[in-house]
């Protein structure tokens, strides 16, 4: 094949750039999944369907604000939240989310279990002298979540592990809810 007169690398790249075709069933399979999700959202009234998804806007300043808030909490020595570490609870047992933020005016919990909703589906925490908490039933499975402070500041749970693979450009915390029926 050396007579082709090009470098080995060029020939490799040419071969690898050949198109790959998936059959039509691929699209159908994806859309089956998507329509199932759509039906679930409508059935549970989650995510503001018909009115659109709830949009959580990320601001570049959040990362700095997050770092500052975590440092402040560590300095105060009052940082405490549940689930600490990777939480394991039964499916029907509520999960309590706690964030210590004395300076906050509002705290909400958003995660994949409530479609990251900020307005109509977020879990709104109650303030107890700077300790914000909310308890909610969370389905069994592995979840990602975060706190939204003052309606705009995205904060991971300082006492929970960071979720692996921030696919969407936003950090999140990991939560494991065990299915006790298995």
């Amino acid at each position: 094949m050396g007579e082709w007169g090009r470098t080995t690398l060029e020939l490799i790249v040419e071969e690898l750039r050949q198109p790959v075709r998936l059959d039509e069933s691929f699209e159908r399979r994806v859309m089956v999944r998507v329509r199932r999700l759509y039906a679930q959202r409508r059935r549970h009234g989650v995510g503001g369907w018909l009115g659109g998804f709830t949009r959580v806007t990320y601001h570049p300043g959040w990362a700095a604000a997050l770092a500052a808030s975590v440092v402040a909490m560590v300095t105060l020595g009052v940082m405490r939240s549940r689930p600490a570490g990777v939480a394991t609870v039964s499916p029907r047992e509520p999960v309590q989310f706690v964030l210590v933020r004395p300076d906050a005016r509002s705290v909400a919990v958003v995660g994949d279990f409530n479609d990251w909703g900020l307005n109509d589906t977020a879990l709104v925490a109650t303030n107890h002298q700077g300790v914000w908490s909310v308890t909610a039933p969370v389905p069994a499975g592995v979840h990602r979540y975060a706190f939204v402070v003052n309606g705009k500041e995205w904060v991971t749970d300082p006492n929970a592990p960071r979720s692996a693979g921030d696919d969407f450009g936003l950090p999140s915390s990991a939560l494991v809810v065990e299915d006790s029926t298995k």
Binding site: L16, F26, V34, L37, L50, G51, F168
Partner: protein, 180 residues
């Protein structure tokens, strides 16, 4: 006239689930190529791609730049491929080519082309996942290093090193076949 990505994303966000089908159709084959080469077989590639499309749909509200939906989806796919586990090479299923291009190539160099393709597959499988990812992003997907850094979260210098090592390794592994 074909709708833009941003228009389709907006339609989906307003409840038009069928608009998502247009996005799937638009990016299906293009991204299948990356997944197939990265994971080494069609079955795992389709699974990763399906998962990426589903995850993107679930989180569409978090797509900050709907006009760049394709880039956002690709980032999700790259992450899915990373977590799809060890590459399992299944000969005969790894490369799924356009039939027309395949037929033309086979007519021109039938035996050599087949052997060459199999050797590339084998050589890619011998790269580390990091090197294979960097090589495919740079040379096959034709991304710049800044784009690669954004997608992978890896520094530009490290990416350049991975690409360089991948190229060296591929040249070593395939030079003999190429010159044979």
């Amino acid at each position: 006239m074909e709708s833009s990505d941003a228009a389709l994303v907006t339609s989906v966000l307003h409840g038009d689930v069928n608009a998502y089908g247009a996005l799937v159709s638009r990016y299906r084959d293009r991204y299948a190529r990356y997944a197939v080469h990265m994971l080494g077989n069609r079955e795992d590639a389709e699974e990763a791609l399906q998962d990426a499309f589903t995850r993107a749909y679930r989180s569409l509200a978090r797509c900050e730049e709907p006009e760049r939906f394709g880039a956002w989806l690709f980032r999700i796919l790259v992450n899915r491929c990373r977590t799809s586990g060890a590459r399992r090479v299944r000969r005969g299923q790894t490369f799924v080519y356009d039939e027309g291009a395949l037929m033309k190539a086979s007519q021109e160099h039938p035996a050599e082309r087949t052997m060459w393709r199999e050797e590339i597959e084998r050589a890619l499988g011998e790269l580390s996942a990091d090197q294979r990812e960097a090589f495919l992003l740079k040379y096959v997907e034709d991304l710049g290093y800044d784009e690669m850094a954004e997608i992978t979260g890896v520094g530009v210098s490290a990416l350049k090193m991975r690409v360089m090592r991948a190229c060296d390794r591929l040249r070593t592994l395939l030079r003999e076949v190429h010159n044979g």
